[in-house]
Amino acid sequence: MSKRHSAEDVELNVTAMLDMAFQLLAFFILTFRPPPGEAQIFLKLPPAQPVAGMTGTERAGSDESKDPKDVKTTKSVVVNLLDRDSGSVTDVQIGIPSVSMKPVPYNDLEKELRVYFKAKEDNEAGQKSGQGDYEQVVINASPTLRWEEVMKVVDMCTKFTAGKGDKLPAVSLSAAGPDPGG
């Protein structure tokens, strides 16, 4: 090497650079965290009481019944989830609030929901049956209920109300009271 370069020749010290590069590499390796494998349920949740004059552009998953411009109202099934302050579901009621709310065992909720949405499936399959064309489930849960429990019911409801194509499931959430926490 000295044959080709004079003594004054500046040579880049690659070793120092390599040291630095290794340190940088160590930093990036140590801070590397694989992204969490998360999933989600997409919902369109309009406010419980939309302001007057709202345009009727909302489609799937929306509670259109309060829209004055929309003649067709969305028929909603309401599921009440009570927890008696325990955090877990103790009582389940299903029905139409203005008509009747029927208490059902938690384990039968899926079956009961199917009754309301079976008619819709039949209609789509070309068979007419008397039951109404329910489109939306409103989950009205106690504010002290654990989120996990609510999500289980959301999961159940999305199976019935999942829209076709890129429509979002028609599930809406409401709390039977204010958030107890400050």
Partner: protein, 219 residues
Amino acid sequence: MSGSVPGGGVKSEPNLTPILDMVFQLITFFMLVINFKSAELDLSLQLPVLGSAKPLPEGANLKLLVLNVQICTKCPHSGCDAFATLRRVTDADTKKVKSYQLVCERGHETDHPQGAITNGKTCLTVYGRLLCKESRSKDFPSIEEYLRSEADLSLMSATPPLTRDEVIKEGKELMDTVVIRADTGCRFGAVNFVIVECQKQGYRRFALKTGQVEIKTGS
């Protein structure tokens, strides 16, 4: 003579240039895969696990507002006025939760007997800050103030830009999707409070986050 000197006549120095190249390539790789997005995710949260939830579709170009919903309480450490959230301490081998701790914003760790905070406050974790229903200082706005400022950004970036009145009075909606990452131990009232506050700001699209599901590719 030439055989006795290692390397012979040419002075042998390992050529470090290829290794340097390789290291720089590795650095580039890790810099590219570093996930700044996961900084806004509070990974201490335990999300509910469900069957019907789907992973985010590949290439989905959604604008997201990630909200980590949690329950917090006053730090039990004496003289500390910060808020603390629950942390699950997992066993390194079995990955099972073995104990619980309260960890406050200043880093105090206190053992906690149960896996839930009773009578806690509803809070959002935003890059390590805990935002409660009331504003605590300039750096700790209330949940409402925080969501308002996020909504303002969203209004400005909408095409065409929207005004607050159009959203509040005329019911125009913000196109951003609010990602609700709520802990399983959260009470529904807390999550509902956050959802209602978002709705007041004009958000209509929500994604309820669930935990690890086996990731199916394609579809």
